[in-house]
Symmetry: D2
Amino acid sequence: MAGNTFGQVFRVTTWGESHGKAIGVVIDGCPPGLSLSESDIQQDLDRRRPQDAPVSTPRREPDKVEVLSGTFEGMTTGTPISLIIYNKDVDSRAYETMKDAFRPGHGDFTYQKKYGIRDYRGGGRASGRETAARVAAGAIARKLLDQEGITVRAYTLELAGVRVEQVDLDVIDKNPFLAPDLDAVSQIEERIEEIKEAGDSAGGIVEVVVRGCPAGLGEPVFDKLDAELAKGVMSIGAVKGVEIGVGLAAARMLGSECNDEITPEGFVTNRSGGILAGISNGDEIVVRAAVKPISSIEKEQRTVDINMKPTTISVKGRHDVSAVPRIVPVCEAMVRLVIVDHLLRQRTIPFQGA
Amino acid sequence: MAGNTFGQVFRVTTWGESHGKAIGVVIDGCPPGLSLSESDIQQDLDRRRPQDAPVSTPRREPDKVEVLSGTFEGMTTGTPISLIIYNKDVDSRAYETMKDAFRPGHGDFTYQKKYGIRDYRGGGRASGRETAARVAAGAIARKLLDQEGITVRAYTLELAGVRVEQVDLDVIDKNPFLAPDLDAVSQIEERIEEIKEAGDSAGGIVEVVVRGCPAGLGEPVFDKLDAELAKGVMSIGAVKGVEIGVGLAAARMLGSECNDEITPEGFVTNRSGGILAGISNGDEIVVRAAVKPISSIEKEQRTVDINMKPTTISVKGRHDVSAVPRIVPVCEAMVRLVIVDHLLRQRTIPFQGA
Amino acid sequence: MAGNTFGQVFRVTTWGESHGKAIGVVIDGCPPGLSLSESDIQQDLDRRRPQDAPVSTPRREPDKVEVLSGTFEGMTTGTPISLIIYNKDVDSRAYETMKDAFRPGHGDFTYQKKYGIRDYRGGGRASGRETAARVAAGAIARKLLDQEGITVRAYTLELAGVRVEQVDLDVIDKNPFLAPDLDAVSQIEERIEEIKEAGDSAGGIVEVVVRGCPAGLGEPVFDKLDAELAKGVMSIGAVKGVEIGVGLAAARMLGSECNDEITPEGFVTNRSGGILAGISNGDEIVVRAAVKPISSIEKEQRTVDINMKPTTISVKGRHDVSAVPRIVPVCEAMVRLVIVDHLLRQRTIPFQGA
Amino acid sequence: MAGNTFGQVFRVTTWGESHGKAIGVVIDGCPPGLSLSESDIQQDLDRRRPQDAPVSTPRREPDKVEVLSGTFEGMTTGTPISLIIYNKDVDSRAYETMKDAFRPGHGDFTYQKKYGIRDYRGGGRASGRETAARVAAGAIARKLLDQEGITVRAYTLELAGVRVEQVDLDVIDKNPFLAPDLDAVSQIEERIEEIKEAGDSAGGIVEVVVRGCPAGLGEPVFDKLDAELAKGVMSIGAVKGVEIGVGLAAARMLGSECNDEITPEGFVTNRSGGILAGISNGDEIVVRAAVKPISSIEKEQRTVDINMKPTTISVKGRHDVSAVPRIVPVCEAMVRLVIVDHLLRQRTIPFQGA
């Protein structure tokens, strides 16, 4: 009800504020018998960590995860898995200036309206930091999907106006933008540097591809696989649009252009993005998320204070130029959570007694 | 779990197949004391009914709704409201030819994979007919929103490649395409006619605008208002993309272009589409859905039969050229359901004892 | 949220008022491929029907069920199954006198307090009639359990102070009290007749036994199998107490008396009632429900009217002397719903990739 | 789905094993603006702590709770509240002997059957230790209920065959058995000592009384207030029976004896236990739980090992003679959780726009 839980069988509940004691996640419904260690999860968190790139914030988050429950002798037991990441490098002073002024484009205003109180330090619960808990849960989902031969990979498709021209999954982790095209990297770097100089920020597009997903996942009519993917991806702070397969382009296609013909060898094309009538068709699932530029910018902007009096704000301090590289693993995690959840839901479908 | 229920407080469960005895919906959680008659619901269903336009199917669906429970002397009582629409004009013969061949772009293939059995007549549960139940539930949501001064209006923003140039809500119901711009109508008509001649189909874009929504709706972090809207809209069969506010354009904006500055009079712009950090900010909420062309086309396409043997298919019979005009009221209904649900969820937030 | 749905995978939503147009139920999550006809369900409803016995009301309810969706050519398809029972023999005049006075022991007072409005005719939603919908859903659960070799049988253990002395499942349907002991029947009859003469009503105890249930069902820690059974059975209007296995007697036992020792052949005793730590142990599951006497009695009682003014009430008309025989199939249905739901939930547990 | 979450609006998710690193709980849906400190919660945990009495285990559990999220400057913010209790005094050696043998009356056998793996140390997840997390969550519920003028008090009604003869709430915390009758204490002590000598254990009954609960809480038809209370209380490990109001005695009453007449001053009697048709009627809510004797006893019992080979077991070590005093605060906590949840659910009912 209060929205901090995702999934129906593989249920993920995150908690924690950016500048509180810790953040964490409880995963309820993970099948027993899965080998799981802290390092399995740490490797996914490390990928999300700020890297030595102009796009990223200088804040050094150790993001050291601990497994507090749900495993025994290195195996999951079917009981809730509790993961915790203590907040170490917390400097709230920079945020004191934001205590009373609402940052444009941020949740400051809406949290205040909703709850009448907010932890303004570092964005509190609305901070991107909350997504570390999602990535941690997503690492467990990844291990489950590995067993089923399903891989989920996300990458930067476009950043600061530069679109990649090829997709080479092997190079994603070899550049700070998590782009699948090294040729695009220098262009992105250049553009990011300009924007940084201008005290501004940049948006982009993340693409996620799922391979090896069996046909049959997704629940008509409201919990369609694409509906759940849309929810999962749109629940990431900065995302303003979600596409499946050809996405928005579908609006300008003819039926004969958009349908994927079928042959005994499989679908001839994949405009559907691997989902038909909300159910996976066995083809690659393709999801894209449009990410808005980071709201916290140095450029001065008009806003109001907590008493609705006019003021201006210039957000200084440790801020990324673009959230896109950090959102890549979060999109990956959310898609994994959706796929694992539906894989487990699908197990209740076959009528085994028949 | 099986996906036929939407909402947490205002819970809507739809049931029924296109060519079964009836379709219907149970609404659990509607507050008591709301004046409600069958004609309140009928007027929304009538809007969805095929009209005398080239875009629509000649099937005459009476779509006569009956209220079976949950009201007493014309008022809701707080108990479940059961609505039923009997299927009258059902001619399944045309569908016999599709019994064994999977229509490209349809759920035929995926339902078969998921369940091992399917009601192939008229698309069964995957038929657009299911959405009549959503529209019926949406009519009750509309009545609740009226009381709160919230209006939700949807219209065709683009159809068959023709984009409207102005938005006049008063003309939406005066043209068969539910377009808010009468100047665009003749162009659309012309284009639709050509596509029909070619045995093909067309996509488009639906836009939904919510006015009067208070700030504070939406639950961080997973049940953000935009995440739920995305799910609700993406759960409509033909939708392949969802945007909030500036949507995909956000990817190419700078922070200074995308942020909405705030003044004591309110937000200067509305690029956010009325939602910040997943919570409504009091401004207009703007959602767009990209609708793919109808999959059932007369143009011959390659496919396989139930034994995965190659064949071809040409879908004749009573089919729309575009689903867009029918999807307009469905988008409207889904957005209403999300808003009402979150309005009721928000009532659990304030700490009244403090 | 509003409480008209039961179960997590096998989800049952009931609707309808005693004197409304119809009552019904939507079952979402029934596996596909189950053979299902209206007569399968009708036979369970017929068992619940008033019989020619002094215990029962003379109202002739045809309780004719119709399957409106979810099956195709006699098989379930995995889509929601909608069942409807039209209310035919409805005479609301007798209830007009109760319009303003709250019947002691009834929901009249609390519905009014909760909703500020109520359908007072025949108890409205609070009527025992609602349980016909549960029995209908339970019939589908029965068919699924049959396939798994699980049987659920309920019977009258005690009625009007007369306790059965033996349990012969074969005679349950051969007497109007659904007692498993024909010797007890004449005693019960006699006692019921006396109570009827006195314008009063009687309580009793229903026992339910589940055979063939595999070990492993039930979800720690809150959704324990016994916790869910307690909820399911306590959700039946007149039930005031629920016991598992030795039940309340456990409070006076020593550990050495209460524990069930284990041998390679199985448990030596079954004081636990087939459930350990909330999970089925493979033994017989035993549940008992204490049923209070029917609240509507002819004996005059003090009460207040809708304006809280004192008055008296004597409920005349068609009322049972005891609800026990009607509650027997309802208990059976609720236990079936719990077992089926947990059977399906258990399918998500094994880690198949390991 | 996996059962570690309780409640719909005030959602409580517990995690942790008896001999793992820590146990904890995440509370999602707590209203903002509630003053909350660690000492508020600690006082409830302290009550649950083993005391210097023969009934209790010598294990010294510090049970020091930490609040990790969800509060800001001493107030709740509406975001998830994460509580952690590190396990400090953990000596698993005593449990090594139980690694392979299933203790009769315990979850050892059923966990193994359900999951194929189990953390056998100290009962793992099935340990009573898990209930500390419930008590911690219950303390927050208590603070909310305080604001509404609702008090929930539990006490030992019967222990080891000794029933209290009077209920004086003031003395509950002045004796190690949490009995409301000091005269009964010496009898209980004596009886407990005898049972301890015999290497055996004892059961009893816990009673919970709710005062100040407004009429109108509880959701027909499945989520009746009594049904939810039954589930909540039965979800406590050792509980085998639940009663509301007169409970099982209702089975032998006549309607005229069981109904509570109503006068302008209120209900004349309270046989219903404050709940009519599943909805609170404004009177005192009375719930009783029958607690079985602790399963771990020193007396030798027959059992089987993990390979189903016969063996015997005598459970030595730090075990209580009766779980009843420890279960008293857990029952209190569960009832509080149910009442708070339904209080918040009730807020979605009134139709404010009418």
